[in-house]
Amino acid sequence: MIAYLIRRISYALPILVGVNLLTFALFFVVNTPDDMARMQLGIKRVSPEAIARWEQQHGYDKPLFLNSAAAGIDKITDTIFWQKSASMFVLDFGYSDDGRDISREIATRMWPSLSIALPTFLIGLIVYVSFALLMTLFRATALDMAGVSLCVFLMSVSGLFYIIGGQFLVSKLWHLVPISGYAGGLDSFKFVVLPILIGIAGSVGASSRWYRTIFLEEIGKDYVRTARAKGLSELRVLFTHVLKNAMIPILTGVVVVIPLLFMGSLLTESFFGIPGLGSYTIDAINAQDFSVVRAMVFLGSLLYIVGLILTDISYTMVDPRVRLS
């Protein structure tokens, strides 16, 4: 088990290095730091001095990979790549354009993100799986047809409309909860309940349909026929046999996103004014704050890779073939 884990993690490292190199290339090679400085300072009439000053302030005045002017180890460490990109491996994300420590921002902002994303994920999972099980139980009947049609309809509506519609109905028309905002502690309930509900509703169509497909695939297998031939009721066949086997494909899709819950949702957070990582990212994109965007890209991949490792671990729990061989 430990060896298995070590192996998975050692597979993950090269991937992370690849992500790091890719983001570095994207942010520093496609456009030079000069371009970015000009972008920030306004395109017209920028003096070379101003550009140099800006680069110096942000630490972009170094060579990209190899500093031939420096001596010893500094040849490598005193470069943009080392200070801006490689440093992210130790979760040192540097400073944003307005001079704040990005790592600290992340540490404080991930909790509001989590307070919405985690309940959305958990309640959502239960709702989708139950809905899918219901459709599977009544497969090939009018109820199933209606369920699938509803799913297709729901998944054809843009996520933006769920948020706008939800805010309009619940907050503006019925005045049940505030339109947007956030508070710490118990007060946060009235702020998070709507985003959570909308988050669940937003993907009920696609998710339930996906789970239904998985269940239907399992239910066509031979061992289900064996279970029925034993005299088990359809409900028991569904809940003990089918559900247990369907857990394997379900986990593949589900566990991997759990770490990403920390990142929050861009849309939800920006619409509801939640001070989480999602709105942080959106603000950074709008302000063209590349340091923050770069940090979020790396953090996102890191969490995704953690998710992949968690997925592998979760397999050992549901699939004896992985656990025992």
Partner: protein, 674 residues
């Protein structure tokens, strides 16, 4: 004894109106086995599933009657039906690997039945589980209870299925092709188990099979099914002695065996019609050489020719009983259609010589994927095939037969050894001539033809790749002649593989190989996916092609009847090595190696010859970790200390017969053949 199951007038329809089971009636008494015999797609499994009411989109007609132990099955509510399933009637299926739930332990799966039908829970249920596993012959049952299906071999899984079926103490056991997916030696074990179990608790058994050998071993009563109907029904003895229906007669005549070596087999032309396609007349009429106009117009009714021997055929309806002797004579006169003496009583010049061929696959493990072992799939094989002769390579699955074939074709790299084709050594690079000289016919006619290519394109592929008959006109006429040779209409070349039946597809596959005029044809179980009647067509074709073109065949098979019919020489392979070789007569008539003997004795025979049964215990070991010494020693009744320590040398006992076994080492060790 009383009837446990009585079925009359069972009709099952799909929602689209196709009758998949059409007017089936039979009875099974306690302690009796009723076999439904038939080729694939004739509705056997559908019948069984209709009785369990488990056909997902089938509707059973309301006037169908099935009584199990006095209970009318089709009158029950679903709840009551559930109590019967797994209880009074249990079923085991063809694919034990797929029929068990992969993520539940063996114990959990059996306990489900125990708690549902016997009310057993907790420790009592567990104990009963162990008892059941013990009863079906699973060694170390207390440990196996907690294991998952993937940890068991195929034969073990089927035993678990049997244990699960027995858990509800059924009055009726339905077994749907229970041994088709298993090797012969394992099949023998499972059939024995079923017989023993039946003898012990006197249950009735409905056995479904396509294998006349299994019928001969298992059946008390037999129903022969064709296209959704039972066409003939009798006791086993009567049916084997005096089959009445032309279809049954042809089935017997189509079986290959030594007696027909120099003759063509009596193949039934065409193939089984899809269920529901023939609604008028006799369903066999299109393939029957004795059908007349009435057969195509009117569906024949059921005629009881003797007591307990009925048939659905106009031949008997008209004349009644009395002419059966004549019928039998007709059957016997069928086989010798074009008997020809064999062209090569003596072996010709050598075509393929293989010496000490090894194919190993590395097993990688751990962080750095280090090579921790080798799967010795082929481990020092030596072969010689003369021109125009057939060498049969016999062995169970996993013994390395197919890997050997691929290594010969250079599809997998060999570790060492030498392959000579017509005197030229093959090594890595294969010239066009050498590729053309050696071709292969594969096992699965559905996987061996690209579904997206027309027949002409399929046949042309080899010619293009090997630059044969350039020029489209020459190619087209070559394709036409190929289709003629394998007995397909020329129009076939514009059609796609899915438009052909399994037998026709195998003909296309043979034509593809012939397109480049090979001298050696490697046939990897070319008939194992086909029905008996179609198998005979393909065997006839292969035989006539051999005579016509002096082809050498390397015939890979596990079907010993086919070997008897076709092969000149036989090699028996066990875990990557050849343990016995000789002429067909030598190996099959006087086998020397205990494994060969066990293999021969495990094959169910239709003549019901009373042989000394040699039952092999256990399964084929993994070629990654072969047993010390003689690979067969752990399963061999005669194994000695010496066998367990050293691999026995190959000793020669006649110019052609040699064996690798310490039992026969006294011959002349100094005269080691290879």
């Amino acid at each position: 004894m009383a009837d446990i199951l009585s079925v009359s007038g069972l009709v099952t329809q799909l929602h689209n109106g196709i009758r998949i089971v059409d007017d089936i009636s039979f009875n099974i008494r306690a302690g009796e086995t009723f076999v439904l015999l038939g080729e694939s797609g004739c509705g056997k499994s559908m019948t069984a599933l209709s009785l369990l009411r488990l056909l997902p989109d089938g509707v059973t007609h309301t006037d169908s009657v099935a009584q199990l132990d006095g209970i009318a099955l089709f009158g029950l509510r679903e709840r009551e039906m559930r109590d019967l399933r797994g209880g009074k009637m249990a079923m085991i299926f063809q694919e034990p690997g797929l029929s068990l739930n992969p993520v539940m332990t063996v114990g959990q799966q059996i306990t489900e039945v125990l708690s549902l039908h016997q009310g057993l829970r907790g420790k009592t249920a567990r104990n009963r589980c162990v008892e059941l596993l013990n009863q079906v012959g699973i060694p170390d049952p207390a440990r196996r209870v907690a294991e998952y299906p993937f940890q068991l071999s195929g034969g073990m899984k089927q035993r678990v299925m049997v244990a699960m079926a027995l858990a509800g103490r059924p009055k009726l056991l339905i077994a749907d092709e229970p041994t088709t997916a298993l090797d012969v030696t394992i099949q023998a074990q499972v059939l024995q188990l079923l017989r023993d179990t039946q003898a012990e608790n006197g249950m009735a058994m409905l056995l479904i099979t396509h294998d006349l050998g299994v019928v001969a071993e298992m059946a008390h009563q037999v129903g022969v099914m064709y296209a959704g109907q039972i066409v003939e029904q009798a006791s086993r003895a009567r049916l084997f002695d005096q089959p009445l229906h032309p279809y049954t007669q042809k089935l017997f005549a189509a079986l290959p065996d030594a007696a027909h070596r120099n003759q063509s087999l009596a193949a039934i032309p065409g193939s089984v019609p899809p269920l529901g396609s023939v609604m008028q007349g006799c369903r066999f009429a299109a393939r029957c050489d004795r059908a007349w106009s009435l057969c195509r117009e009117k569906t024949p009714g059921w005629t009881e020719v003797h007591t307990g021997h009925g048939v659905r055929c106009h031949l008997y309806q008209m004349q009644g009983a009395g002419n059966t002797v004549q019928e039998k004579q007709v059957r016997l006169s069928v086989p010798d259609v074009d008997a020809k003496p064999e062209l090569h009583p003596e072996p010709g010049p050598s075509l393929l010589q293989v010496s000490d061929l090894r194919v190993h696959f590395p097993i990688r493990k751990g962080l750095l994927q280090r090579v921790v072992g080798q799967v010795k799939a082929v481990d020092g094989v030596t072969l010689d095939i003369p021109q125009g002769r057939t060498l049969a390579l016999v062995g169970e699955s996993g013994c390395g037969k197919t890997t050997l074939a691929k290594a010969l074709l250079q599809l997998v790299p060999a570790l060492s050894g030498r392959v000579q084709l017509a005197g030229q050594t093959l090594s890595g690079y294969v010239s066009r001539e050498q590729r053309a000289a050696m071709q292969m016919v594969f096992q699965d006619p559905y996987a061996s033809l690209n579904p997206k290519m027309r027949v002409a394109e399929i046949l042309e592929e080899g010619m293009t790749a090997l630059d044969i008959d350039s020029g489209s006109k020459a190619r087209q006429s070559h394709i036409d002649s190929l289709l003629d040779q394998v007995g397909l209409a020329r129009g076939a070349k514009w059609r796609y593989p899915h438009e052909f039946s399994g037998g026709q597809r195998q003909r296309i596959a043979i034509a593809r190989a012939l397109a480049v005029s090979p001298r050696l044809l490697i046939c990897d179980e070319p008939t194992s996916a086909l029905d008996v009647s179609v198998q005979a067509q393909i065997l006839n074709l292969l035989k006539s092609l051999q005579q016509k073109f002096e082809l050498g065949y390397l015939f890979i098979t596990h079907n010993l009847a086919v070997v008897e019919y076709l092969a000149h020489e036989v090699c028996v392979m066990y875990l990557g090595r050849i343990v016995e070789r000789g002429t067909a007569a030598e190996v099959l008539r006087s086998p020397m190696h205990p494994y060969t003997r066990a293999l021969l004795s495990a094959v169910p025979r239709i003549d019901g010859a009373n042989r000394d049964r040699i039952r092999l215990e256990g399964d084929l070991p993994s070629p990654a970790n072969p047993p010390q010494g003689c690979h067969f020693s752990p399963r061999c009744a005669h194994a000695t200390e010496q066998c367990r320590a050293h691999y026995p040398p190959l000793t020669r006992h006649s110019p052609t017969h040699s064996v690798s076994c310490y039992l026969h080492v006294e011959a002349r060790v100094d005269d080691r053949v290879f």
